[in-house]
Amino acid sequence: MSDAINAIKLSNAQIAWRAAQDIEDGAYVNLGIGFPEMVAKFQPEGREAIFHTENGVLGFGEAPKEGEEDWDLINAGKKAITLKPGAAFFHHADSFAMVRGGHLDVAILGAYQVAQNGDLANWSTGKGGVPAVGGAMDLVHGAKRVAVVTDHTTKKGDPKLLDACTMPLTGVGCVTRVYTSLAVVDIDGGQFVLREKLPDLSFDDLQAVTGAPLNVQGTVGDLIVPAL
């Protein structure tokens, strides 16, 4: 990616902010471990989402103060959490019934690669080491909307939005929207549809760092995010 693009691209917090704007009041939401967890910080005022964690909690809140952790009360990332009024505990089979059974409104995950048909690769680079999948393969099936938050390219500048994934798949045809550091892209009918892009970025420059054709249906909105 060129220095010019690096200078204007969104931070992870800004990508998370943009993703948070699409979460409706009262939605049941699962956020992947790491970067996607930031989405919870940017819920628009007046809306309250209910957050689900795979290990058996609905309705958790922020991290406790240091020294006030209860290690029976953690999230899927093994971090201490707190409860909001109306929270619920349940066992792992019920937790994944919520996931696979189509009861979650949104799952927001990170990605190594996303293909134009909605295939997602986010669990293994395929390079050896100890493989670990956790709940990723379950989460991509069942949530009504599966969205990805990611940098538009790898650190080396290679596209992460591709015609086909080259890394081991997490799920087939599962992603419906991608929030990147440069654009908001829907996956519709086996193709990328550009919905929003940074106003200072030309379509051609965006296409040059995308590994499959970006289609336009109607107008492309400006991706405008506050400084965070």
Binding site: E54, D72, K78, A93, F96, V130, V133
Partner: protein, 235 residues
């Protein structure tokens, strides 16, 4: 009826070499550390261990692995803050890994406990983890056949228990524990407190005693996270 067992050593006395053991917990939350350590004292070998993870630090399951008691791990996420015990042995080919998506792991255990030999799930369809498994289409969508998981023993952690084997859990410490209780030939629960029959409101029972063979009291159980912060090593 009295399923009470006097000590953690007595509770694990029947676990022999080659056994398949389900161990409750998600990371340290709901992990029966005292039962695991009692098992390390007895040191059966060649075990197949079913748990979401593969140990953290030098206590609990990580300590079992360091003592080379486990031949195989069945888990979804064999990584942790300090996964060296498993990682070193896995990369040297000294321990086997069956990697299972987390929801599939939970459902395979539930199926084992419920007498359902196989089921279909959308999870893992089209991925490396579905290789060699039957696939079938239902209502226009493809699903992967997964089989039940059962075990010779389950060692689990609960909050309250009674002599009938009824159990309640504490917060997110519930996780895999009620499922594993159903899926093993013999289920042993460590509980923070054993109370008299009737003292647990039947409305509050999470695991009914029919799934539990033994209950041992461990007041003030240790937390893996605390032990790891103290850099504890077992034994």
């Amino acid at each position: 009826m009295d399923k009470t067992i006097a000590s953690v050593a007595d509770a694990v006395a029947d676990i022999q070499d080659g056994a398949t053991i389900m161990i409750g917990g998600f990371g340290g939350s709901g992990a029966p550390i005292e039962l695991i350590h009692a098992l390390i004292d007895k040191r059966p070998r060649d075990l197949t261990v079913i748990n979401n993870n593969a140990g953290n630090g030098h206590v609990g399951i990580a300590a079992m692995i360091e003592q080379d008691m486990a031949r195989k791990m069945v888990c979804s996420f064999p990584r942790s803050a300090d996964p060296r015990a498993f990682t070193e042995r896995y990369l040297e080919g000294r321990i086997e890994l069956e990697l299972v998506p987390q929801g599939t792991l939970a459902e395979r255990i539930r199926a084992g406990g419920a007498g359902i030999p196989a089921f279909y799930t959308p999870t893992s369809f089209g991925t490396d983890l579905a290789k060699g498994k039957p696939v079938e289409e239902f209502e226009g969508r493809s699903y992967v056949q997964e089989r039940w998981l059962k075990a010779d023993f389950a060692i689990i952690k609960a909050q309250l228990g009674d002599p009938m084997g009824n159990l309640t859990y504490r917060m997110a410490g519930r996780n895999f524990n009620p499922l594993m209780a159903m899926a093993a030939t013999r289920t042993i629960a460590q509980v923070s407190q054993i109370v008299a029959p009737g003292e647990i409101d039947p409305e509050q029972v999470v695991t009914p005693g029919i799934f539990v063979n033994g209950v041992v009291q461990v007041a003030n159980p240790q937390q893996e996270e605390f032990l790891n912060r103290q850099e504890a090593v077992y034994p």
